[in-house]
Structure formats: structure tokens, C-alpha cells
């Protein structure tokens, strides 16, 4: 391939000046005024019934416009993940409920002239409840004898994926374990916010920092029975999403208030409300059995995983299936079964969260792999090398082929860079502080192809009269550099500086359809669409130039913003040619493309962690870290590394400190960032990054996904390092100081016996 000018380079991201200087206008930065401000009324109880609702005091307060109660609920139920009518996810979600199912369930709202009044009035609404005992334990919820609160709906949603013969040789080494992963808050800097208003022509305009504008449109149009073309959803700047803004969140509530009052309505949540009333990473309990022969060849694996949806169905059953689908794409295993059960508890609903089940299932399988390696015994890296998939392997469970799967290169190169062999055998120490190393492998997807959800998109692209390029696409920049990388791809093909390419974001009334920034699909699917369309536009433009100049198109080429006629010795700026094409041909220099991917290869990663554990206080410090990723090709290496640093930081939180816990009445104990411990800079190790770039067919310039997978193996890599250093077999995340000390005490007692 010829030398690339923009792809593979650290092109400065398009929004860096606004973001770094604080001038970026997120929705929360809009001045008050021009809209009524809403404040949600959230349930303080985890389960029960509203028996009285007294808003008289609030309604008397000056500036209060209207109080919404459960009586204002439209009666229809929705599912916040659903985006086509064939999708059978349970529609169980009310807008305003009188039967709260978790602390934070939305009962109503106060609409007032400003935010302060709305807050004060919300505090003055008196709601009486009849409480019922909440169901909080997911394992209890999975038992058939446990009474369900699901009122006629199934209390358990099952899913199975299996292949191969259910035979385990008698002399096999068997490892059985149960791994628990916790409920997690996304922790995006920007809390949830939304604005809705009626535009002329009866169009409902909803502005929201979301990941799937067309899903928001689907849910709103369906829920409120509005023609789809009368709902316009516009994606606004996103201050972090991480899956938390993938499902429809507060848009129905905001839209309902705008529809009922005719007023422009702005609904903004604070941090506590965002923690209580939006979505979480689903907690899971995975029972796992791995059978291997004495040489460490895997023979069979069985997984029985319970996934906690929380109070409503949301997309959790999809998360559960996504967990199962990862299990046949990392190791060559002759036979396997995955049995998933989505259950319901009176806790904050789960949903999408960076990795979509992948961090959970890999925590289960990769922690178990290390426990198996100990049992064999065998170097955990060697055990993995023996079993990892090879490039071009198929998926034995029937998923799309794995593509140029370079996990083995990742592991081999990572071991060398991390000095794994040397460091693994170092003693962990005798004193208070114990050092250890651990690793974990992982896989993730590149879109929806091969899943029940259709993957396709369209895009329009045209040259403007000054030679700049406009890409009209329903993209969603979440802070991960989507617009910059798409711009680089287009700039590469059309040979002009990336800053002369403007890439749009989703507006359901003006941009072509795209399902959204989900499923790690944007680089691989949207990037490939942009590439193919840019090539299509380039041919059309050259052909148009040829007609204008009355020469053969083969003589013409594009170079650095100029059309060159090599034989005629002529060069003209793109802009000049666009104008001539307009005047002389009466044509636009533009193209449109319908794109659908025909494959969905796997991305891979291996993470290596070194930890030092204080056996007296139970504090774990991650002292060194290496992330190795098979990315096909880095479109923008600096942005890609940025994704990895952030992914590692989220993963360290999952490994060590983040957890939404509830008291016996179902009240979250950590509904603020001072109590919900995310990892901050002083607790971060240096993160080394090593990229394996062997090219992925179907991806733009060989590129594939990184945004989700980089957080997937972090928790098990750290868990494995801690277990190795302490000689423990901890399997319950996070490894908080309390759990570390409890495990050490248990081990001491066992040893004393």
C-alpha cells in the first residue's frame, strides 16, 4: 500500500480546542431561560405502591408550572433498548409509575420556571407509600420458589448457546468455580440531560446527548403514537456515555411533559439522580466448569450465568446473550455450553455499559483460567497459548468468522515486553506487601453483523464550492474521536487536509439512518462506509472534472486539494472544479452510499498487570500495566491510546473499588461520587500500550474496534495478579480492602487447621 498521509497519524482531534479550553457547549452549559425546567420525583422506597400524592404545597409555590404524577403516565409500556418491532424484549417500563420497583424509580416530575424552583417544589411534594419487602439478591431471584414482583411477566429470561458433545473424559482435570461481578455506575462526567419542544408542523424535537438517536426516535414515536417523521431527535455534545446513554433514558419523561404542556422542557439530572435513576452495568454470578487434559488442552467448558437486570427488562437479556457469544471466540474448545438466566431484583436497572457483558463474562472465564492453571499446574500464559484461537478460525457456535485474529501475537509480544517469564517466577515477598503479576485475554466484536440486529448505514458526501467536504452521517461522537477518525479516512481518499472535512452527527430528520455508536461498530462499519463512499465520490468527481475539461478521466488525479491533469499540465483547486461542474454540468459533486457489512471479525487484547497488595490494610496498588491490542490498524494512534488509558481506568475501578451496594431496604449506599469510589489519577499505574497491526479485511485501511474491548480484560488481569501474589482464590469483584482482608483471614484459618 502506498504511504498514507492522514490515516495512521496522530491527527489532532476536531474538537480539542473547544474541549481543552472549556468552551465546548454541552447541554448543561446552555443558559437558563427559553425552557421550563423539570425535576424528577424519584421513589425513596425499593418496592411498593403510591397511596397518596399531595402536590398542593408545590403547586402553590410561585414559578411552578405543573406537577406530574403517576396519573400522567400514558399507560403504555416501553423497553429502552428496543429499536425495531420484531424485537421481542419485554416492554415493561412505565414513564411515571405508581408501583415503584427500585429506589430511584420515576414517579412524576415538577415543571417550573427555573431549576431552583423545580428543586424546591419537588422537595415539597408529599408522597405516601405502602411498602413491600424488596427482592435484592439475584441468586435468590433465580430460585423458582422465590415469589416474583413481575406481575404476570416471566421472572427469568433464559438463553442457551452450546456446541460439541457433552462429554468429559474421566481423567480430565476439572476446575469448578463461581465468579461474581458487581453492579457498576458508568460515571460519565456529564449527567443525564434532555430537552424537548414542539416545533411548527407538529414536530416533536428532542435534543439529547445520546448514543442511538434513531432508537430514541423509535421509542418516543411508538410510545406516544406519533408518526415517525414527526419526531426529530438531535444528538448533542456528549460528556461521556460508556453505554449509559445507549438505551433511552429520560427522553420519554421529557417528551411527555413537552407534549402535555406544549412548553419547551429541559430535564436535567444531578449526580445522585443519575446514579439512582438511569442504568448500570449488570451484576452477574457465573458458575463455571473447565475440563482440561494434563497438558493443558481445554476439553470442555460449561458456564451457568445469572445476570441481574434490576427492576426492568431494559436490554439486559441482550447483554446476557452477548456474554454467551463471546465464549466461543477466544479459545479453541471442542465442546461448550453457556446457559444464561436474566433475573429481576428491586435495584437500579441494568443495561449497556462499555463492553456489553464482555467485561463480566471475561472476568468469569479468565479468573477461572488462572485457577485452572494453578491446578494443572502450568504457567497461565502457556495455558492460554496452548488454546487460543488462530487467524481465520471459524466460530464453532455459529457466529461470524473470527477474521485476522491476532490474539496469539498479542500474547507472545506482550509477554516479551512485560518480561512475563522473568516476573512471574519472582517471589511475592514475605512481609506486609506482596507483589504479583497477572494477565487476561479477551475478545470483542465489530458491529451487529451475525446478530439478530441488522447492521447497515447510509451516508451522503459532497464537495462544497470552496473545495471543502461535507459528510452527512448519523454519527455519534461520544468523546472517543469518531468524527476525527472518519474525517481522516475521507481526507486520505480525497487527498485534502482533515480539517477541510466536516462530519455531521445524528439528526433523525436530516441525516441518513445509522443505528448508533454501539456494539463497537463505528470504526469497522461506519469507517468502512465512509471509505467506500469517499472512493465513490472521488470517481464521480474525477469523471465530472473530465467532462468539464473534455479530457479522459484517467489523466486526472487528486492531490492535496487540487485536481491534477498530468498530461495537460493543469492543476485546479477542488473548489474551482466544483463551481465549474455546477455551472457547466448543472450537477452536484456529491454521492450517497447504502452500506452493509458482510462480516464481523473479532478484536483481541491481552492485559498484563503488576500489583502490590498491603496485607495489613487490604489496599491493592496497580504498580505496572501493559495493554496489548489487535486493532487491525490504528487510524489515529494517539486517540486509540487515549481509549485504552480510559478503558484501563474503568477496569481498575471494576477490579478494586467500584460497586453499587444496597442496604436491606434496597437503598443504595453509594449514591454520590464521594461514596462511589471511581479510580482517580493517583491510583493509576503507568499504562504501556502495544499495538498489533496486521490489518483486518473489511475494516477501513484494515482498522477494527478498540473502544469497548480495552476495558474488558482489566479486572481479571488485576484479580489474577492479586490472587497470584497472595495465594488466594478470590472470585468476587471488586477486590476491596474488606474482601482482601477477609480472604487473608480465611486462608490463615485454613492453614492453621
Amino acid at each position: 500500500m502506498a504511504e498514507l498521509k492522514y490515516v495512521g497519524r496522530d491527527v489532532q482531534r476536531n474538537d480539542i480546542v473547544e474541549k481543552a479550553s472549556g468552551r465546548m457547549k454541552y447541554m448543561g452549559d446552555r443558559m437558563q431561560g427559553g425552557a421550563a425546567h423539570a425535576r424528577l420525583l424519584l421513589s425513596p422506597i425499593a418496592r411498593g405502591r403510591v397511596v397518596s400524592f399531595d402536590a398542593s404545597e408545590a403547586e402553590r409555590m410561585p414559578g411552578v408550572l405543573r406537577v406530574f404524577s403517576p396519573k400522567d403516565d400514558p399507560g403504555k409500556r416501553f423497553n429502552s433498548a428496543l429499536f425495531l418491532p420484531d424485537q421481542t424484549d419485554v416492554q415493561d417500563h412505565p414513564v411515571f409509575t405508581d408501583k415503584p420497583l427500585f429506589v430511584g424509580d420515576i414517579l412524576g416530575a415538577v415543571l417550573a420556571k427555573d431549576e431552583e424552583t423545580a428543586r424546591a417544589a419537588a422537595a415539597a411534594v408529599k408522597i405516601g407509600f405502602e411498602e413491600e419487602a424488596p427482592l435484592l439478591d439475584m441468586e435468590q431471584a433465580a430460585l423458582p420458589q422465590t415469589p416474583s414482583f413481575r406481575e404476570g411477566m416471566s421472572p427469568v429470561i433464559e438463553g442457551k448457546i452450546a456446541y460439541g458433545e457433552e462429554v468429559v473424559p474421566e481423567d480430565a482435570i476439572i476446575l469448578e468455580s463461581t465468579v461474581r461481578t458487581q453492579k457498576i455506575h458508568h460515571g460519565a462526567m456529564e449527567n443525564h440531560i434532555c430537552e424537548a419542544r414542539m416545533e411548527y408542523g407538529g414536530v416533536l424535537l428532542v435534543e439529547t446527548p445520546c448514543q442511538m438517536a434513531f432508537t430514541v426516535r423509535y421509542v418516543l414515536a411508538d410510545l406516544f403514537d406519533i408518526p415517525f417523521n414527526k419526531v426529530r431527535v438531535v444528538k448533542t455534545p456528549v460528556g461521556g456515555a460508556f453505554g449509559g446513554k445507549q438505551e433511552v433514558g429520560i427522553e420519554p419523561h421529557c417528551a411527555l411533559m413537552a407534549l402535555k404542556t406544549g412548553l419547551p422542557v429541559r430535564l436535567a439530572l444531578d449526580r445522585t439522580q443519575t446514579i439512582l435513576a438511569t442504568r448500570t452495568r449488570a451484576a452477574s454470578v457465573g458458575r463455571i466448569m473447565i475440563a482440561a487434559d494434563r497438558e493443558g488442552n481445554l476439553l470442555r467448558r460449561e458456564m451457568d450465568v445469572i445476570v441481574d437486570a434490576g427492576a426492568y427488562a431494559t436490554g439486559t437479556q441482550r447483554v446476557m446473550m452477548a456474554m454467551g457469544k463471546k465464549t466461543s471466540r477466544l479459545y479453541r474448545i471442542p465442546s461448550q455450553s453457556f446457559h444464561g438466566r436474566t433475573v429481576f431484583t428491586n435495584t437500579t436497572p441494568a443495561g449497556a455499559c462499555r463492553g456489553y457483558g464482555s467485561p463480566q463474562i471475561h472476568a468469569i472465564t479468565e479468573i477461572a483460567m488462572d485457577l485452572l492453571s494453578r491446578k494443572l499446574p502450568m504457567d497461565p500464559a502457556e495455558l492460554r497459548l496452548k488454546n487460543l484461537v488462530h487467524p481465520w478460525d471459524s466460530d464453532p457456535a455459529g457466529g461470524p468468522a473470527l477474521g485476522n485474529a491476532r490474539i496469539r501475537d498479542c500474547l507472545v509480544r506482550g509477554m516479551e515486553t512485560f518480561r512475563w517469564n522473568e516476573r512471574r517466577v519472582l517471589p511475592s515477598g514475605e512481609g506486609r506487601f506482596r507483589r504479583g503479576v497477572g494477565l487476561a485475554c479477551c475478545t470483542h466484536g465489530n458491529g451487529y453483523f451475525g446478530s439478530p440486529y441488522p447492521d447497515f448505514m447510509s451516508m451522503a458526501m459532497r464537495f462544497c464550492e470552496d473545495g471543502t467536504v461535507l459528510v452527512n452521517a448519523g454519527l455519534h461522537e461520544l468523546g472517543n474521536g469518531t468524527l476525527t477518525t472518519i474525517g481522516q479516512i475521507v481526507a486520505e481518499v480525497l487527498d485534502l487536509p482533515p480539517e477541510r472535512v466536516e462530519v455531521s452527527e445524528s439528526d433523525t430528520s436530516t441525516t441518513p439512518f445509522d443505528v448508533g455508536c454501539v456494539a463497537s461498530r463505528v470504526t469497522y462499519v461506519c469507517g468502512a462506509c465512509a471509505l467506500e463512499l469517499a472512493e465513490k465520490l472521488k470517481s464521480r468527481f474525477l469523471e465530472q472534472c473530465a467532462r468539464v475539461l473534455a479530457v479522459d478521466a484517467h489523466r486526472l488525479s487528486l492531490k492535496n486539494g487540487e485536481m491534477i491533469d498530468s498530461e495537460g499540465g493543469v492543476s485546479r483547486s477542488y473548489g474551482e472544479m466544483v463551481c465549474r461542474i455546477a455551472k457547466e454540468l448543472r450537477e452536484e459533486a456529491g454521492e450517497y452510499l447504502h452500506y452493509k457489512p458482510d462480516r464481523n471479525p473479532a478484536s483481541y487484547g491481552v492485559h498484563f498487570a503488576e500489583t502490590v497488595t498491603d496485607t495489613f490494610t487490604g489496599m491493592v496498588e496497580v504498580t505496572d500495566y501493559l495493554a496489548v491490542h489487535d486493532v487491525g490498524r490504528a487510524i489515529n494512534p494517539r486517540l486509540l491510546r487515549g481509549q485504552i488509558y480510559g478503558g484501563v481506568q474503568m477496569g481498575v475501578g471494576m477490579a478494586l473499588s467500584e460497586e453499587l451496594v444496597y442496604d436491606s431496604k434496597g437503598r443504595p449506599k453509594s449514591a454520590s461520587l464521594s461514596r462511589y469510589t471511581m479510580v482517580n489519577a493517583p491510583s493509576m499505574p503507568n499504562v504501556g500500550v502495544l499495538l498489533v497491526e496486521e490489518g483486518e479485511p473489511g475494516g477501513p485501511f484494515g482498522g477494527k474496534s478498540i473502544g469497548e474491548i480495552c476495558t474488558v480484560p482489566v479486572a481479571p488481569a488485576i484479580a489474577n495478579a492479586v490472587n497470584a501474589s497472595l495465594g488466594t482464590s478470590m472470585t468476587e469483584l471488586p477486590f476491596s480492602p474488606e474482601r482482601i482482608l477477609a480472604a487473608l483471614s480465611a486462608r490463615r484459618e485454613t492453614n492453621a487447621r
Binding site: 419537588a122 489496599m619 482517580n680 474488606e738
Partner: protein
């Protein structure tokens, strides 16, 4: 909501007198890193505020012959960076440096931390260990003193009267005083203390003061552990006895509490840190 912004102590007393004459819900604002969060979270609770940030007599650090005085509105950043405090009252400087984030330390004040009466207040254990006295003044200018252990009457509730405010913290100067502060939370920095220890000792026999924070309303004195330290004999056996004494004290302080299994062990980590630091400092002379 009414906000008064007195610029000196006389104006402050006037405001306080008016609140006594016509009683109203009133809170002193001394930094606001806790109060403002609380106000925002509870719209129903909207007391009048008296902002102390402009009261110049509350913002000073002053050396006297026998004591150091720290005004109530001195921030944690100022304490952390004060060279005399770092040298002579290092437990307090260290505790100040571990409060919240830099932004919190720039706003948060020692007086505010005391009056907020959190069991996890980081300034309290060092002040107890350093034998500090709190100078309290009322609307009429009458002064009284309190020990730091008396300031909290219940978690989140202080023992001051409606017309009283903390004027200063008085720290007695002692010869050869060494002091240390250690804490553990849920992460390395910007963490609420789950447990903390402050130790002060001088070369004078019998002068060992060790207090634990986050175990109750006020810091708890660890007398048995003090006695072990007072042997001033850094043997392995004493080390173990010291840690055992700490665990025992925690067990007596919070029997039956869900956090006991963790804290009775974690206190050994903090104790080990103190032991090592004290041993090194003393051997250095």
C-alpha cells in the same frame, strides 16, 4: 435565604446577636465544602447563612511563646504548606494534606471541619494527639475553650450554641515533639477516611498520645497501645504487642459493627506505618 457577610469579628458578633434576639435557622459558612453539598441535596433545608470567609480575624497563623494559634478559617492548603506546622506539628500538616482534593483543601477550613462534626474528620485525631484546645467565642465576645474531643456531640452535630463560633485552634508548643498521621480509605487520594490514627510523642516519659478517627463520634484514645509505645523499645515483640493493642481497642470501640472485621485488621496496617515512622524518627534523633 439571607446571607450575611461580616468582614470582621465585631460585625460577626452583631449578626450573631441578631440571631439570638430573633431566633432563626442559621448556619455558619466556613468554606462550604460540606455545607453547600448538604444544602443542595436538601432543598427543604434552607437556613440563613453567615459567611465567615471575609472575617479577617479568623484567617491567621500566629506564633506565641508557648503556643501556635491557627484561626478557624485557615484552609487545609495553608496548613499543609505552613513550614512551622510541617516541622513541629507534622501530624496536622499531614492530615491536612490528605483531606479531599486540592480544590477541597483550597476552600475547606479547619474550623469548618471541626464544626461539621463528621466522625471521619481528618483534623480531629491529630488535634487530639497534639493536645490542642479550641477557642470558642460567643456573640458577646465571651471566650471559652473546648477540647477537640468535645466538639462533636453526635455524628454531624456539634456542641456549639447558636451564638457561638470557633475562633481558633491553639496548639501547645513542646520540646522534641514528634507526630504522625496515617489513614486508609477506599483509594489512595480524595478518599473519606475509613480509619485513621494520629500519634504524638516527645522524649518526656509518659508523653505518648494516640488517637483513632472514624470509629465513633469523636476520636478514641488508644491507651493500651500508647503504653506499649511508651516502653520506647522497638523490639519485634513490642511491635506485635502494639498491633494487638490496636486491634483490641478497635474491638472494644465498635463491637458488633459490620465494619469490625475489616477495621480490627486494617488498624494493624496503620499501626505498622506509625511504628515504622516513629522508630525511624526517634533513631534519627
Amino acid at each position: 435565604m439571607r446571607v450575611d457577610t461580616p468582614s470582621n469579628v465585631n460585625e460577626l458578633r452583631d449578626v450573631l446577636r441578631s440571631t439570638v434576639a430573633a431566633p432563626r435557622k442559621c448556619s455558619l459558612l466556613a468554606g462550604g465544602t460540606d455545607l453547600l453539598v448538604h444544602l443542595r441535596a436538601s432543598p427543604g433545608f434552607s437556613p440563613d447563612l453567615i459567611d465567615l470567609s471575609g472575617v479577617k480575624e479568623l484567617k491567621y497563623i500566629e506564633m506565641h511563646r508557648d503556643r501556635l494559634e491557627i484561626g478557624a478559617c485557615v484552609t487545609f492548603t495553608e496548613i499543609e504548606e505552613h513550614s512551622f506546622i510541617r516541622e513541629h506539628f507534622s501530624a496536622l500538616a499531614r492530615a491536612a494534606s490528605l483531606v479531599g482534593s486540592p480544590q477541597i483543601r483550597n476552600l475547606g477550613t479547619i474550623g469548618g471541619n471541626l464544626a461539621n462534626a463528621s466522625p471521619a474528620a481528618d483534623s480531629l485525631p491529630p488535634l487530639c494527639a497534639l493536645e490542642a484546645t479550641l477557642l470558642v467565642e460567643n456573640a458577646e465576645g465571651a471566650q471559652s475553650t473546648l477540647s477537640p474531643a468535645q466538639i462533636a456531640s453526635a455524628p454531624g452535630k456539634n456542641s456549639l450554641h447558636a451564638d457561638q463560633y470557633i475562633r481558633a485552634v491553639l496548639l501547645p508548643l513542646r520540646e522534641n515533639l514528634l507526630s504522625f498521621f496515617v489513614k486508609t480509605g477506599s483509594r489512595k487520594a480524595v478518599a473519606i477516611s475509613k480509619l485513621s490514627l494520629a500519634l504524638a510523642l516527645s522524649s518526656e516519659p509518659g508523653h505518648v498520645r494516640l488517637f483513632a478517627g472514624s470509629l465513633g463520634t469523636s476520636p478514641i484514645r488508644m491507651e493500651a497501645a500508647e503504653a506499649v509505645l511508651d516502653r520506647r523499645d522497638w523490639t519485634e515483640a513490642n511491635h506485635t504487642a502494639f498491633l494487638d493493642a490496636l486491634s483490641g481497642a478497635v474491638e472494644r470501640a465498635i463491637p458488633g459493627r459490620a465494619s469490625l472485621p475489616f477495621k480490627r485488621l486494617a488498624v494493624r496496617g496503620l499501626g505498622d506505618d506509625l511504628w515504622t515512622a516513629a522508630k525511624e524518627a526517634i533513631s534519627r534523633g
